[in-house]
Symmetry: C2
Subunit: 292 residues, 2 copies
């Protein structure tokens, strides 16, 4: 993905007419992986495309013959280029019964890349955080702290929604006690990494005991900032948990036409939703200052 | 595939504006299955398209809500429509040492559908019959009968090449002693069915004994005409063997963009090539009149 973002500029510096990369992912469907890329300023903006793995194999085989290869590239881009559209983060809360100003945040992004339907990136995330909020809202006992579910807008084009959220919440960032995002596909969570103050680690170990029977380990590091959108909240000072799911097939579906509803692993989705619900409930009632 | 061929005309009779079918195949790639279809004479020629399985799922879910669904169809066809091109069957022989006028034929088709690269349909077949001819040609002992490898042209648009072959070989069709085609993908052969005279069945059972250790059974029926192109030689009187391979994934690759070289099962290809080579060698040296 680093090559996808920076490859065209690197190729242009060497005088290339276009940049062609092998698709990210291990699949052998004839579908290219897409996603955001950037042009460096002052460098020629050359076309940049991805070849599916079977097509990259074909091209490599042609080049291996050490005979001249003619590559004809027809590419087009569509969509609004100069226009701007107004979009919005969607935020909901289960208001805390005891310390409603203290926030536990659950994040996911509501936009998707254009080629697929966004079932995995990030429909799953939206489903997990909405379900976690729903399950807690339907419980008889209310959480002590407020649980805030944030559906971030315009993540795909550069974390735009969360930048606005952070700008608007500078004054109350210290009320953001702990957060977690879901934006990495389909797999079962196998590990949780905290990013909290040293005194809070005892509470993290206690929480991890609830997850151990589900096959979730506790990372030995304590450097999590939050994933995706929520990484910017982490930079702004919000403690975070990063839940790491099995991502072996992530790039087979991510930003391809194959990101469709049938790819969702429903068993993993149930497990991951359970973990996020537990996380929100535990953190909202722990009384722990995760900054300390 | 029957629905693919006849569906548009059936829909047009009921007043449909277009015909949309769920892709043939079990895959969940977002790639539609394509292939030949026919318009009945005197019926409106409406557009006909295939939806990939994930897209068909999406559409079914939308229809299940029992609310109005708007379906916008943009489709185009390209390629020569009024022009004709000249193409050729490609034929090679290992000339028989004793009865060179007696022919054992191996067939496959050299054209492919346009969306994929034709690795499976019918690159595999071309590879199998060429390799069988090659192995026999490199043997010290020549076969008694001639082994003729026929790479048929223009199978996809309606068995055009073999029609010409049959028309040109009416006079010597009785010299076509036995034939077999390969045009069904990737799987291991699990059964051979003969289509021969009753006296030749003893020889068939003897040949089947060579295949049994490779997991190939002998069909209880004796009605094979030859597959694909070669079915027309069967109708013209040529005895045939039909080798049946596992076809569970055939329609996942057949006539889709996913018909690429990486899909080839190399172990199956070796086994199937061995069987076709054995077949040609056995039939060329059996002395059996497969018509009797």
């Amino acid at each position: 993905v680093g090559a996808r973002v920076a490859g065209a500029s690197a190729a242009a510096k060497k005088g290339a007419l276009a940049f062609i990369m092998r698709s990210v992912g291990t699949d052998t469907d004839r579908i290219g992986h897409t996603g955001m890329m950037r042009y460096e300023e002052g460098i020629a903006k050359i076309p940049a495309v991805a070849l599916s793995n079977p097509d990259a194999d074909l091209l490599e085989n042609m080049l291996r013959r050490e005979q001249p290869v003619t590559f004809s590239l027809n590419t087009s881009a569509s969509g609004p280029t100069g226009d701007t559209v107004t979009i919005a983060n969607v935020i909901g809360e289960v208001t805390g019964a005891e310390t409603p100003d203290e926030l536990i945040t659950l994040g996911a992004h509501i936009d998707s890349w254009d080629v697929g339907t966004g079932a995995i990136d990030d429909g799953i995330g939206i489903g997990i955080v909405l379900a976690a909020g729903h399950y807690i809202a339907t419980m008889e006992q209310r959480p002590a702290r407020t649980i805030r579910v944030i559906l971030f807008a315009a993540e795909e084009i550069g974390l735009v929604g969360v930048r606005d959220y952070v700008a608007q919440h500078k004054a109350d960032m210290s009320q953001h006690m702990l957060g977690a995002e879901w934006d990495f596909g389909n797999g079962r969570i196998y590990e949780v990494e905290p990013g909290v103050g040293p005194q809070a680690l005892a509470s993290v170990r206690d929480f991890a005991n609830y997850l151990a029977p589900m096959g979730v380990g506790l990372a030995s590091t304590n450097t999590a900032k939050g994933q995706s959108d929520m990484s910017l909240l982490g930079e702004a000072g919000q403690p975070a948990f990063n839940f790491a799911p099995d991502g072996l097939d992530y790039f087979d579906y991510h930003h391809t036409e194959n990101d469709t509803l049938d790819k969702v692993d429903q068993d993993a989705l149930k497990l991951n939703t359970t973990i996020y619900t537990l996380f929100a409930w535990y953190a909202a009632n722990s009384g722990v200052d995760y900054r300390q």
